[in-house]
């Protein structure tokens, strides 16, 4: 089923997924994870993606971000067909236009908080000094200015995740993919994190696809999609896991 069909919506679409299928080889046999998936993500909207463990949520994020190559179907982001890009081009595309937030923060341990944020800017060609100044500004905005020169191991889980969010959005990507960003945080830190994320997304007008197991997090999104049995459904009413 398609999550969105209107012509106006089509024009506003940033991400268009059509006929997407994906399988992994397991014990010499192909195990389908995604089957004929089609949906769109509009510019500026936040979409929550729900689904049971192992249903293919992370695989879907990997495919949209170009980390994994599409086996079947099409993914278009801002009119660019990912299937037409080779691995190198997909990597450059990801670097410039996509931000990724992970459950386990994944900060580079040998870089400070500011350097972690500046890294994505530098990778995109910004001069180091300018990138560092901008990173410090961003950290100051979310109350982590005093921790700018701290290494990951010197930050709490909540602080690490807030730095990770800044790293994902510092280059103002068109699309932010978040894979259970609150999954490793307590309720309070999770709320803090979501607040920071919303602020940043609002500031840049980025589109967000947010994988979560948390209903509270999902309900804060503009739309909710559920992934089940390899297919995707737009959620319209109450649901329970």
């Amino acid at each position: 089923m398609r999550g969105d069909t209107g012509e106006q919506h089509e024009q506003q679409a940033l991400v268009r997924v059509s006929g997407l299928g994906h399988a992994y080889a397991q014990g010499g046999q192909a195990q389908a994870v995604l089957r004929d998936l089609s949906f769109t993500l509009r510019r500026g909207e936040t979409v929550a993606l729900l689904g049971r463990s192992g249903c293919g949520k992370t695989t879907l994020l990997n495919l949209i971000s170009g980390i994994e190559a599409v086996q079947q179907g099409e993914i278009e982001i801002a009119g660019i067909r990912l299937t037409a890009l080779d691995e190198e081009a997909r990597t450059r595309f990801r670097r410039q236009h996509i931000g990724f937030i992970y459950q386990f923060f994944n900060l580079v341990p040998s870089l400070t908080a500011a350097e972690n944020v500046a890294l994505i800017l530098e990778l995109n060609g910004a001069p180091l000094q300018g990138a560092m100044e901008h990173a410090r500004e961003l950290l100051g905005d979310i109350g982590l200015g005093s921790k700018a020169d701290h290494f990951a191991a010197q930050l709490s889980g909540g602080e690490q995740q807030r730095v990770a969010i800044l790293r994902a959005v510092a280059h103002e990507p068109a699309l932010v993919l978040a894979d259970e960003p609150t999954g490793n945080l307590d309720a309070h830190s999770g709320q803090d994190m979501l607040q920071v994320l919303r602020q940043r997304l609002r500031a840049h007008g980025s589109t967000t696809l947010l994988v979560t197991h948390s209903l509270a997090v999902a309900q804060s999104a503009d739309r909710i999609l559920t992934l089940d049995e390899g297919g995707i459904h737009e959620h319209a009413g109450d649901f329970a896991w």
Partner: protein, 855 residues
Amino acid sequence: MSTLATLPGNSLAKAHSRGSARLLWRASWRHARQHRWQSWLSVVGIMLGVMMVVAVDLANSSARRAFDLSVATLSGTLTHQIVALDGGRVDDELFTRLRSELGIRASAPGLRGEVRLQGRRFTLLGIDPLSEAALERRRPGFATEAGALLGLGLRTLASARGVLMQRDAAAALQLVPGAEVSLRSENRDTAVVLAAVLEGADAQALEGVIVADIALAQEVLGHSGLDSIDLRLNSEEAERLRAWLPPAFIVVDAGSDTATLQQLSQAFQINLRAMSLLALLVAALLIYNTASLSVLERRATLGVLRALGVARGTLLRLVLGESAVLGLGASVAGAALGLLLGQVLVRYVTRTMDDLYFTLTVTRFLPDYRVLLEGAALGLGLTVAAALLPAVQAANAAPITLQRALPEEYAWRRRIRFLALLGVVLLGLGYVLLLPERGSLVEGFVALNCIVFGFCLIIPFLLSCALALVLALTLRHLPQTLRLSLRNIQSGIGRTGLAVAALTVAVSVTVGVGVMIGSFRHTINVWLEQTLSGEVQLARLDGASGIPPELERAALALPQLREVRRQYWQTLHTDFGTVRALAHDGAAADQLYLKQAAAQDLAAFAAGDVLLLAESFAWRHELKPGDTLRYQTREGEQSVRVGGLYFDYTTGTGALELPLSRFRQLWPEQGPQRLSFTLTALADRAATLEALRTLTQNFPGAYGVAANAEIKALTLAIFDRTFAITDVLRLLAILVAFVGVLSALTALQLQRMREYALLRASGMTVGETARMILAQTVAMGVCAGLLALPLGLWMSQVLIDVINRRSFGWSMQHLVPWLVLGQALVLAVIAALLAGLYPALRIRRLSPALALREA
């Protein structure tokens, strides 16, 4: 439909299209600093490897230049030489006739001999300045030969008893022009005057040379006549000269004999170089280990970077760049240290060349600075090459979202089978390369490397199988710590296998070289026993026509001596160059250490019909029993069939054994050069030697008297001196390997700290955990030691039967010194034990809670 241009984006980030990723370098630098012990060990390993290569290359190139310079100084630019067919002197009169009858003006007399001045050895070079000017001979040290030497020569050499010395050599003896000095030659002193000192760009070429007028040189050396008449001829003139020359003389191409000597000494140098390269190879394994471990440790970080959009090429360059920085620093430091070590090693190399091949007049260190650059480049190149595979692994790191919990080590279980297969292929290749009886030395070394590498690649598989077997058979009987230790080795086979392989290679070098040297020494001992007949030797040292019969009779009249054997030798000009022709007055089987001679051939030898060839000479010129050898005699060319081969470990251009009857036909006036006496039962050896020495003083000429035991001791001392450099290199190779093993094992243990913390948290005591770590490293040491034995023995076989044979033409008996094998095993265990000490000590300070939290 929108395009990329319409996408939002940070203006700062879009300012440049391609990033320099300085932050990635910063992260790398911090990672290296956090693991500085690992970085330092790598630096030390590469530094030692480069130091060895540079030092050996510098020593070799310096010795080679000294050799070339010595040859050039003593001979200069010649095309031909006239020498006496019997190896004796050339009459002065022949030189005069050559110029007057044939009109060959481009000729000069050649004369040189060994003298001592204030106890130091010099080569006395006799020259005739006028003839030198006509010959236009160019020699290093004589700036403008014809002009300067003529002027200087006429002025100073013609002055009363004047000699010339190099400035530094004279200064070292505190001599100034005008000083009266005494030159000693064969127990006779001659007073001369230092007329002038020689200086100039190539003056160092003359540091071991004293130049004198030819007549004064003849007086100092105590004989008339010349060594040679040196010529510069075209082929037409050479033919004309050959037709004219009296039968007692022969025209030879200049430099053919020194070329043979050079070839032999080069083989010695190639052997040294191979050993130094082996050390660098071990250092490369170390770099590979460090780089791969660094990549493994950063697997998650690399995955994050990949997910962030860092291109594969960037990561490849990053890891290669890290290794290049380490390699560059270590290579530069290694080259600088190599310069220092080279100055020590050159003494060993020049002494060996001096002992075995050629009297060098130049012994100073003559560094070739290109070697420094080459060594540093080799170190850097090898470092980058060794880091290539880990760099590719880094570039291929899966983005973090794709990384599975599957540890790298599981992948190794599959890889080791492939590596083992590759190892078998390499071993097979090495074996095939060794199959041909003849082949180049380089092929021999390629084969040796194939065998070492092939064996290395099989080790992880062998280790894995052996551990599986041991664990299966002893599962219920092993204590828990030992069982865990063995399981740890097996589960980390990628890393443990590499560490065991590195240690195996290092220890096998000790075994291989140790067995080779032991076998060689044993063979030399047997050869000396076989060839030194009698108990006391009396030899003529001045190369004249042998020991006078009166001296022999007087010696035999001594009551202590009861029997004598005579040995004769002369120079023989064969189709394969100048050789030393020997003859004995006993049966060949009693006098020679025979290698290949059938009974009928020995009978033919006794009848004077065949000759026997020294094995090394036969090998070099591909001669075998049944072939015919041609040589020049006064009566013209003769040819004799080769009847057999005998072992001979003397160095030089070659040797052969003639039947005594044939020798006497060729040189009827030649007396024995050496007499071997047997003592009577009650004779006192020391008193006999003294009596013989006293006796020789009544006869003209220079003689040497020595007991067989002294000769054996001296020969073995020269042997040990020759291999002293090998021992130095072997020790350094082991040091490099030890650093490698220490790095690999320590890294392995530190990588497992979380696992150990878990065990500590589960109730294992500090002592139990430390014992488990030590048991693991000791078990790896035992495995490496055991694996090193077959590899080392195989290596020794290749060294003995292929490398030495192809280098020198020598074959030798195989002797397995059990002590060497035992030492190797102990060395491996100690190296492994030491490597386990640091992690075992560190575990004492490890807080289980903290370690688990950090992880």
